[in-house]
Every structure is written in structure tokens, then in C-alpha cells.
């Protein structure tokens, strides 16, 4: 079966709309992806048919909602190849997932211990750890980046030692699209006895990671990056680690027994799922993963690689355009500037032409500091984008640059 782009686009109602009287060209997929009708239907069906609070409800609606919520957990477990469903925690997204681990890990760390971050991180994989270091007295070390926008793996090897407790890196850089060599990073960290958290927010729309094969200790995902709704995500943690970490939030759902003298905590995964969760979101997350699998990650990777190559070649025709992030292994993301034109100016004019890109520092200021730029224009593609849309962006960009020069 081929890749039927027309049929795929028909799944996404939003792609039919216009912006500023032009057909929408949506190239901000790394910020959030669009939602197919199949997922929208699941969201509607939830509220129309079985909206109820889950777990411990004896009535039918509660049981139906619980079954579907837990079935979504099972879908995630199978998709990411976690060993057990109890290693798959629902969170509100990657930021929540990282904060949960950073909070718990703080209690396992002592003054003088070291943790390692990479220069390519999103602020959400930097700040929670800085907060943890302030609380625990641990030292934060940084894997430097290269001009190509890749990690300096020799420097990484030198940073690792017997004091290293934890390494946290993204699978794919949100600002540049670089796919980091996480297999190597995990192996080397484990060799000195350190755990690894991988922020998979930007990888999962493009790559299907096998968590057991990776042997990663923690892995985070945001549903809205892969055709699901916002406000829901996943934290994978190896069972042994999740048992070691203290709970992050207290409340209902996460307890076994409560008295005013002492409360005991529920078993995994509920120990980390205090309060009523985003039930509909969790179910829709499962539906989104099913949808992506119905397209097929191999098909997606192949098609997006074509888009990336086509767009890279087309953009290079524009005088003075520089692409940031030239790793041979990258996802369909192009971060660029034209001469010294401010990215904001380009983004504003492209929007007038119906083309949605992101401009600014992309919550990755250390990368912008490295290149000494205020930010970039970032076009990020999804499997529902087309070469015709890339043509529209390139001609829009030429027009914008002409106005701004």
C-alpha cells in the first residue's frame, strides 16, 4: 500500500481552513500537531456516551470509562514496548513527567553528586533539574554542542564518572531537529552506574522507540505532539526506579490507606497519579497512537525524510539563508534565518500569507546563545504536509525577504 497523502489530509478537518484568506499551511508541528477526525470522534464519544470518574466506581459508566482508560495505557505500553503497564504513568505532558522525576530524584541525591544535561535541551528539561540541584546540592554538568547542532560525545564521555547519578537528554532537539545518539548515551551512563531520562516529546511523532531495547530508565511523551490532545502525556519509568521514587503529589487515587496518623501509598502506577486524571485525554492519547500506527511509522519516516530533503534544497536557493542544525540524522524540522533579518519579522509576514511557522528561541535559549542569534524561524513538518505547501512557504519567504531587506 502506498502513502495516500490525499486520504491522510482528509482525516484532518483543520487543514481545510483558510488563514488571512489563504489556504492554511501548517508548519508548526513541533509545537503541536493537528488532530485527525478519528481522535476527535473518540473525544466526542467519551463525553456523549461514558463520561464518568474512573476506578472504584461500581456503576456502568465508571467501569466503561475505566476500561477504556486502562486500555489506552495498554496501547501505550505495547507501542513503546514497556515491560508492564504499571511502568506507564499518565501525566499532563512531558513537563509534568520531568518534574515528577526531578522531584523524586532529589530525595535520592546528595551534595557532591553530579547530574548531566545536554546543551540541546528545551527549558523544560533544564529548569526542573536546576531546581533539584538547588534543593539537593548536586552539581549540574553540560554536554556541549557542535556547530552542526549535534552533541559532543567525546566531551560527554569525559563528564561521566562514579559521581554521576543521572543523565537527562532529549531524544530529538525541538529547536534543531537533531536526533541524539541516545543508545550510546544510555550505554555509557549505565557503565558508570548512572540512570538516564530521555525527553521523547519531539521524537515520538517521527520515531517509534523500543523502550526495553533502549534500556532507558525514564522516557517522556506529550500526546499533543503526535495527533493527540494537549494536557496529557506519558512518563515511562522502569519499575525498580518508580518504586524508589517518592510520590510527587498527594491526593485521591494515589493512596492505599489514609488515617490522620499516616497514609500509605497505592501501588504503581497509581502512586504517581493523584487526583482525577485527564480521562478523556488519556483515552484520546491511545486513539492517537492507534491512528499513527495505522499510517505506519516507517511510512511516516520515509515520507517526512522526502519532505525534509525537498525543503532543505528549496530553502538553500534563498540568498543569505542559513540553516541551524545540520546533523545527518534529524527529524523533519528546519530552523533558519535569512541574513540578519529578525525571525519575528519573517514569521509575521508569513502569517499574513496563511503560513504558520514558529519564531523565537523555541524555549532553548542556550542553543541560541551558542549561535549568538536572538532566535530562528522554525518550519516543522508532519506526515500530512506536502511539497506544494513547502513551495508556498518558499515563495512566501522570498516575498517577505524582499519586503524586509
Amino acid at each position: 500500500m502506498g502513502f495516500d497523502i490525499a486520504a491522510i489530509r482528509a482525516d484532518f478537518p483543520i487543514l481545510q481552513r483558510t488563514v488571512n484568506d489563504r489556504p492554511l499551511v501548517y508548519f508548526d508541528n513541533a509545537a503541536t500537531s493537528q488532530t485527525p477526525q478519528q481522535v476527535i470522534d473518540v473525544i466526542s464519544a467519551y463525553y456523549q456516551n461514558y463520561n464518568a470518574n474512573i476506578h472504584r466506581g461500581v456503576h456502568t459508566l465508571s467501569q466503561e470509562a475505566t476500561d477504556r482508560y486502562e486500555a489506552a495505557r495498554k496501547t501505550l505500553q505495547q507501542h513503546f514496548n514497556a515491560k508492564h503497564t504499571r511502568e506507564v504513568l499518565f501525566t499532563s505532558g512531558t513537563t509534568h513527567s520531568i518534574n515528577l522525576v526531578a522531584f523524586g530524584f532529589g530525595s535520592l541525591i546528595e551534595t557532591g553528586d553530579e547530574v548531566i544535561v545536554s546543551a540541546l535541551e528545551h527549558h523544560s528539561n533544564i529548569v526542573p533539574w536546576q531546581m533539584m540541584c538547588e534543593r539537593s546540592g548536586a552539581k549540574l554538568k553540560v554536554i556541549p554542542m557542535t556547530d552542526m547542532g549535534t552533541l559532543d560525545m567525546n566531551a560527554y564521555a569525559e563528564l561521566l564518572n562514579e559521581k554521576t547519578r543521572l543523565v537527562f537528554v532529549n531524544h530529538v532537539s525541538n529547536a534543531l531537529g537533531t536526533v541524539n545518539p541516545i543508545e550510546e548515551i544510555i550505554e555509557q551512563a549505565h557503565a558508570v552506574g548512572a540512570a538516564v531520562l530521555v525527553d521523547g516529546a519531539q521524537a515520538c511523532p517521527h520515531i517509534k522507540p523500543d523502550l526495553q531495547a533502549l534500556d532507558v530508565d525514564f522516557y517522556t511523551v506529550s500526546a499533543h505532539k503526535l495527533c493527540g490532545p494537549t494536557g496529557v502525556g506519558m512518563l515511562y519509568g522502569k519499575e525498580e526506579w518508580l518504586n524508589k521514587l517518592p510520590p510527587y503529589q498527594g491526593g485521591g487515587e494515589m493512596i492505599a490507606e489514609v488515617t490522620f496518623e499516616k497514609s500509605t501509598y497505592a501501588d504503581l502506577p497509581h502512586k504517581f497519579e493523584a487526583g482525577t486524571p485527564n480521562i478523556c485525554g488519556g483515552i484520546a492519547f491511545g486513539a492517537a497512537v492507534d491512528y499513527m500506527n495505522s499510517i505506519g511509522f516507517e511510512n511516516i519516516a520515509q515520507y517526512e525524510a522526502e519532505l525534509l530533503e525537498y525543503a532543505t534544497r528549496a530553502l538553500h536557493q534563498i540568498d543569505g539563508l542559513r540553516i541551524y542544525g545540520e546533523s545527518p540524522n534529524k527529524t523533519a524540522v528546519i530552523s533558519f534565518n535569512v541574513d540578519s533579518i529578525h525571525p519575528y519579522d519573517i514569521g509575521t509576514l508569513l502569517d499574513k500569507m496563511g503560513i504558520a511557522v514558529r519564531t523565537g528561541h523555541h524555549c532553548a535559549q542556550p542553543i541560541m546563545d551558542y549561535y549568538q542569534i536572538p532566535g530562528t524561524v522554525r518550519a516543522s513538518f508532519a506526515f500530512y504536509n506536502t511539497k506544494e505547501e513547502i513551495d508556498a512557504m518558499v515563495s512566501g519567504l522570498k516575498r517577505a525577504v524582499e519586503m524586509l531587506r
Binding site: N20, I341, H342, Y344, D345, T348, L349, K352, T359, G360, P374, G375, M403, L404
Partner: protein, 140 residues
């Protein structure tokens, strides 16, 4: 010329354009005529927060009138601040404080007025009014 009159003049100029492109081209031109801030004031204290691009604004008092100078690293932002300065510069603090800002809607820049917009038009207007307030307090 009063602030209202200058604003009416700007609205009139923008009404001559048929499409967004001409409007933005004009704004880019206006940006080039912006009374530039003395480089010594291009400091962290003079940066307006809430803008994706950097915007610096400074105000001096001459003959009981506030004179604004500014700069930005983005051209469209320079155009927006140039429009504001043209409307508000060279007036007494009280006149600036009393002035209405709805002319922004009428020149098709309404989309920039939302506080979530990265260019921080709202912050710029607030900063201009704050300068006026500070000078008025000094005068009293």
C-alpha cells in the same frame, strides 16, 4: 498638532492601502524613520519586556513636553513603535496620559493588540504612559 489629530492623520494614511502587504510595507518604511534612541540607553533597563524582538524606549523632557526615542532589532516592531512615537511624542505628560489608543484598531493592527502577541504592543503603550506618568509626578 494634538494627539487626536495625529492619530486621525495616521488612520487616514493607512486607509489608502488596499491590502496587508501595502500596510506592512508602509510600516517598514515608518520603522526606518524612527527617532533612534541614544546607544547609551540601549541597556537592559530600557528593554520592554514581553516582546519577542528587543525594544528599547527612552523618554526625555524638553520644554515640558515628553520626547520619545526607541529602537528594535525587528523592522516591523520598529514600524509599530514609530507609529506610537509619532502619535505621542512632543506632548505634555497629561496629554499623553489622557490619550486614547483605539486608533491602533483602525489601522489594521488590532491583531497586535492582544497581550499574548509576541511583539508586545500593549507593553509599549504601557511603557510610554509610564514615562509620561513619571514626568508628570516630577512636575508636580
Amino acid at each position: 498638532m494634538s494627539i487626536e489629530k495625529t492619530q486621525a492623520e495616521i488612520v487616514e494614511e493607512f486607509s489608502l492601502f488596499d491590502d496587508w502587504m501595502q500596510r506592512y510595507e508602509y510600516m517598514i518604511d515608518l520603522g526606518k524613520s524612527l527617532p533612534l534612541i541614544d546607544p547609551m540607553y540601549k541597556t537592559e533597563d530600557h528593554i520592554i519586556k514581553g516582546c519577542q524582538s528587543k525594544v528599547w524606549v527612552h523618554a526625555d523632557m524638553e520644554d515640558e513636553k515628553v520626547k520619545f526615542t526607541a529602537d528594535s532589532d525587528a523592522i516591523i516592531t520598529k514600524g509599530i513603535i514609530a507609529i506610537l512615537i509619532r502619535a505621542f511624542s512632543n506632548h505634555s505628560p497629561q496629554e499623553i496620559l489622557n490619550a486614547d489608543t483605539s486608533f491602533i484598531d483602525q489601522i489594521g493592527l488590532k491583531e497586535h493588540l492582544s497581550p499574548t502577541r509576541a511583539n508586545g504592543l500593549v507593553s509599549m503603550i504601557k511603557q510610554i504612559k509610564l514615562y509620561a506618568l513619571a514626568y508628570q509626578t516630577q512636575m508636580n
